[in-house]
Every structure is written in structure tokens, then in C-alpha cells.
Symmetry: C2
Subunit: 340 residues, 2 copies
């Protein structure tokens, strides 16, 4: 079909709502944050065999490529505006696959309120990949930082933690569900969370109002919490028993208590971790409830450095590494078997 035709046929409709994209007929797009606002920018890639499976539905791959970037914006208090999409394929994909991929982007655009602004397509050997650069806006100087948390702040997470990592585990080991006595009502939502992360869009304005620091949880709760505490110069404590689990995750952990470690370190949650001053915690929870977002207090920040975690029985939990690292230190165990 040719590169130009492919772009016009498949991708230009996704840019129709964004005048600065010039119908994807120019080399660059134009973007201006609203008056008095900064632009917040981030980039994340998903690659076949690493972040998604070769036989995942094209709609889900597209959704995930966009959602993992939107997750970063939301955690900074930013409102998504637009994105650039850089695609690579080992050969020109079938039209039907591309149509489904575009449909997944359209779903994610509608869910998160942003438009395609431009991109790049090339042909290179397997694995296929989609690299997104996403743009949001935030009141000037107000982006919610990782640094900024203070000793005494309470730690909150949105949604539930661990579903995606447990879903991935079930997918790698098809016999596991049966061995743990799980039925489809448990398995399906866990698999779905790996495929379709749903970062909490409605939380962004509340983070601006209430959070002293925030970030999205994408590389494992423990690793990301350690990062937030480390860059803020405080210590973090998480009470394992307070980490919010879905009914499905609860069923897995109850059948296999060891899998609680996967919950804490598995990654791919795409929920928000926020530090809230103690005198604002109640108001934050009420505002989140009013916005339809579940937030749960899971611990607190204190003086010193480091991260401590209690297990479900209340005893201190020993852990190493603590999250997903693309380039782990020599000898460090990978937290789970991401597809190769």
C-alpha cells in the first residue's frame, strides 16, 4: 500500500480532531499548552515478546501502548492532550490487523481524551514495537513530582495492585489456575488487566490539589515506592495487609501465599502511588471517592532512608531488587519471567 497511503488510510483519521497534526501530511505537528500551562512530556515503548505477546489482539496492543504513557501523565497531575507514535514492523502488517490496531488507539484516545499528532513508521526485523511520546498539560510550575514527599506523609495507591503480574503468571503457566483451584471469574480479570491497563484519569486533578509527590506504579510497587522515597529523601513503610487486592488477586494469594511477592514486585500495575500530608489524607480520600476512584492508604513516609514492608502476617518482609529492571545488576534475579 506504500508508507504514505498507509498513514493516510489508517492513521490520519486518528488525528482528525487535532488541528496541529495537519492531517499527518506534514513533517511535524504543532502543540501549544493552554495559556498559563506547561506541557508535560513522557515516552514509553512496548515491544512484541517483552511488553506484549505475538498473539495478543491488535486492539489490546494499541491500547496498552497508549495507556502506559497516559499513566505517567496522570500521575503527574497532567491532562492528556496528544501523542506521537513511532511504529516498527518486520513487514507491512495486514490491513485487517492495522484496522484493529487503529481501533484500539481510537478506544484509548476516547477513554483518555487525547489525539494522535504525528509519528513515524519503519520496517525492521522482529520484534514489532510501538514507541509513544505523550503530551499533557498542567498549570505552570505545578507538575506533581516524585521528589516532594515529606516525612509524615501517608502513602496511597489507586485501584488494586498485582492483578497484571498475576495475570502474566497465569498466562505463562496454563496449568497454574487449575492447580490453585481458580475458576474463570478469577482468571479472566487478571488476564484482562495485563492486556488493558486502566490508569485512573479522574485522579489527575486531585493529585494536583492534594499530593506532595506522586508517580505511576509500573515497575512493581516496592521498586517504585523505593524510588519515590529515595528521590524525596525519606524512608517509606508499606503495610502489606493494607495493599488493595482485587477479589481475583485475593483468591490467588489465598491459594498460594508466596504469590504475594509477585503482587508487590510484579509491575505493570499502571496505578498511582501518592504521598499525601496527614492533615489532607481524609479530604483526599473523600475527593477521590466523589470522583469514582478507589484510593487506599498503604503506609507512610518517615525520617531516614530505605523501604520496609510487612507481610500479610504483619512480620517484616525481606526482599531483594523489588521490581522490574530491564538491565538488572549481575546475579540479581528477574522478578518474574517476562516473555522472551
Amino acid at each position: 500500500m506504500g508508507e504514505d497511503d498507509l498513514i493516510q488510510r489508517t492513521f490520519a483519521p486518528l488525528a482528525a480532531g487535532f488541528p496541529g497534526a495537519f492531517g499527518l501530511r506534514d513533517d511535524c505537528a504543532v502543540l501549544a499548552p493552554p495559556a498559563g500551562h506547561d506541557l508535560v512530556v513522557t515516552t514509553d515503548a512496548v515491544a512484541e515478546g517483552v511488553h506484549f505477546f505475538s498473539d495478543d489482539a491488535a486492539r489490546d496492543i494499541a491500547w496498552k501502548a497508549l495507556a502506559v504513557n497516559v499513566s505517567d501523565l496522570i500521575a503527574k497531575g497532567a491532562t492528556p492532550i496528544a501523542y506521537l507514535l513511532s511504529l516498527s514492523f518486520p513487514e507491512e502488517p495486514a490491513r485487517a490487523w492495522l484496522d484493529e490496531f487503529a481501533a484500539g488507539l481510537a478506544e484509548a484516545q476516547a477513554a483518555f481524551g487525547l489525539s494522535l499528532a504525528g509519528g513515524d513508521t519503519d520496517c525492521r526485523p522482529w520484534p514489532a514495537s510501538a514507541t509513544v511520546a505523550a503530551f499533557g498539560s498542567v498549570l505552570a510550575g505545578r507538575m506533581v513530582r516524585r521528589a516532594g514527599a515529606r516525612a509524615g506523609d501517608r502513602l496511597f495507591v489507586s485501584g488494586t495492585i498485582g492483578d497484571s503480574a498475576l495475570g502474566l503468571k497465569l498466562r505463562f503457566d496454563p496449568g497454574l489456575a487449575g492447580a490453585l483451584g481458580l475458576d474463570a471469574t478469577h482468571v479472566a480479570p487478571l488476564l484482562a488487566r495485563y492486556l488493558r491497563p486502566r490508569p485512573p484519569l479522574a485522579l489527575a486533578p486531585l493529585l494536583l490539589e492534594f499530593a506532595s509527590a506522586a508517580m505511576d506504579v509500573s515497575d512493581g510497587l516496592l521498586r517504585d515506592c523505593g524510588r519515590l522515597a529515595g528521590v524525596s529523601g525519606v524512608a517509606a513503610h508499606i503495610e502489606g495487609v493494607r495493599v488493595p487486592l482485587s477479589a481475583a488477586a485475593r483468591a490467588v494469594v489465598s491459594a498460594d501465599p508466596g504469590s504475594f511477592r509477585t503482587v508487590l514486585t510484579g509491575g505493570d500495575d499502571y496505578q498511582v502511588l501518592a504521598a499525601i500530608a496527614p492533615d489532607r489524607a481524609e479530604a483526599f480520600q473523600a475527593a477521590a471517592r466523589a470522583s469514582g476512584v478507589d484510593v487506599t492508604e498503604i503506609g507512610a513516609l518517615g525520617g531516614g532512608t530505605g523501604l520496609s514492608v510487612t507481610a500479610l502476617d504483619g512480620h517484616p518482609l525481606a526482599f531483594e531488587g523489588g521490581g522490574w529492571d530491564h538491565f538488572p545488576a549481575p546475579g540479581a534475579a528477574r522478578p518474574h519471567d517476562k516473555p522472551k
Copy 2:
């Protein structure tokens, strides 16, 4: 070394000049165009085996990754500000390689005046790749478009055309230089142009002042000229004899007249193609000369549609395709053998 250490050690120094990067210790960067300006955004990827060779120097790969994106910004009249860098490697690169890669980025940052703002690193199977999203600023509403050229406009290109594509040809066929009777003074600059494209930064403000349309020449002069004319709704005519050639390219074409086709269609030029109203052409040339940028009038735009080109002997040149296409129509010949 671990992903976080790798980022802090190798890449954070490249972001030191850009406060909105927060030392690469946050999930997102903050970017605000100067008052009264728009942000101009673009993305382009380079992959091993497609856009660069496995044994290219890390410094050159880094330079090219950034330069091909800056090329887009310059052609739109934009001033480069910052960029995001998404890297993928099949395994953690050696420190020495990473240091050289960072040094190449630093050289390109200094040459083009922009800073690293953020990025993403992951581990996935070969080929390695670097995807850049680059940001520039331009007076609000003034980005130089591809569309906007008018019948009667003169066509200009900056620099010389074809060097990079001829350099690639010489690299693929080590016996060619000898067969054509070329010596090192011809071969070296052609090879260098493939490795280190040098888009004409000083031309950006002049395009804002003089150009009715512009774009960078990256997929071959003929294809890109056809795109500019097509989206502007005019016809283009290029006089082959006026296309500016370097001394080295002239030596190749003189020894092998058929290689003039490579000059016109080979791609990777990263020069600017601009349409200038006839009554501004002289002033544009004078201003470019004063800025130290060579620009050459190579043809003109007229009523109708399509692209015509004359060969060096003045006769019409027949051509098909006419440039690099990552996904060519079935049966279409690839313009040259890009590495596989």
C-alpha cells in the same frame, strides 16, 4: 549496573542544562515554549541494520539519531529545544560503548542547541534502536508547512544532494570506488555524510521569513519534492543540471552517469527543500549567504499536478517510485539496497 544507575550515570549529564528534565529522576519532563510561541514536535527512529550499521561508531549513531529529528524541526523554521530518547538494546551495552554514545549525543546537542529531557530504556531482541521525539519552538501560528507552496514559487535546496546515498552505495560495494577510479578524497566525505548528517540550523529563521513551504529532504529529493508539490496542489519541475553536487558526488556521477538517479532518489540528505515566491528569491539567497548556508535554485512550481525532472543532458528523466519507502507498493523496486 541496573536501569536507574545506567540512566543517572550515562544520560543525566545530558539533561543537566534543562531544568524541566528534573535530572531524569522523574517520570515526565516539563516543557513550555517561550511566550507567544508554539511547540513543534516530531519523531523519528533509527534502527541497527536499517538506518545504521552494527559496526558504526556509537558516537555517529547517536549523532544521526538526533540530527535526523533536528532536520525536521529546522525545515519547519523551528528552533530546537529538547528531546526524549527511547532506547532498546538486546543486552546491556558495554560502558565504553554507552560513554561514546553519550558523547555523540553531547556533540549533537551542542551543535543544534537542544537538551535531553527524558526517555525510556528497554531490553529487547536485536536490532538495537533509538527513537527520538524532538521539540522546537516557533512563533505562534508560523510553522512553515509543506502545504502553502504556490505556482510560480522557485524551488531551493540547501547544501548538496546525494552524498549520503552515494556514500551508502560505496559502503555496500567496497570494490566500487576502485572501479570508478575514485580516491580517498572523494570516498571519505561521502561516507561521512551518511554517518553524520548536518541539517542547516542557520536556515530555520530564514525559512520563517521567506518560505511559502518547506520540508527536509530525507526520503529522496524526488519523492519529497513530489510530496511538497502534491500537498500544496501544484506541479513541480526540477532541472537536474542545477541540483547541487559536492565535488565528491560530481566525481562519482562523472565516472558513472547512471548514479545520478541515486543522487535524486537515494535519501538521507537531511537538507532543506523550500518554495520561495519569485520576488523574494534573490533576498532569500542573499540572507542564506550571509548566514553561511548554501542554497541553490533547482526548479520551480507551476499550475497542475505532478513532478517532472530533466536529466543532466536536459532531456526529461523517467522515474518510478522516486524515493525511500519503508513499505513500497508490491512490485516496486527499492531505490537502493538499504542494509537488511
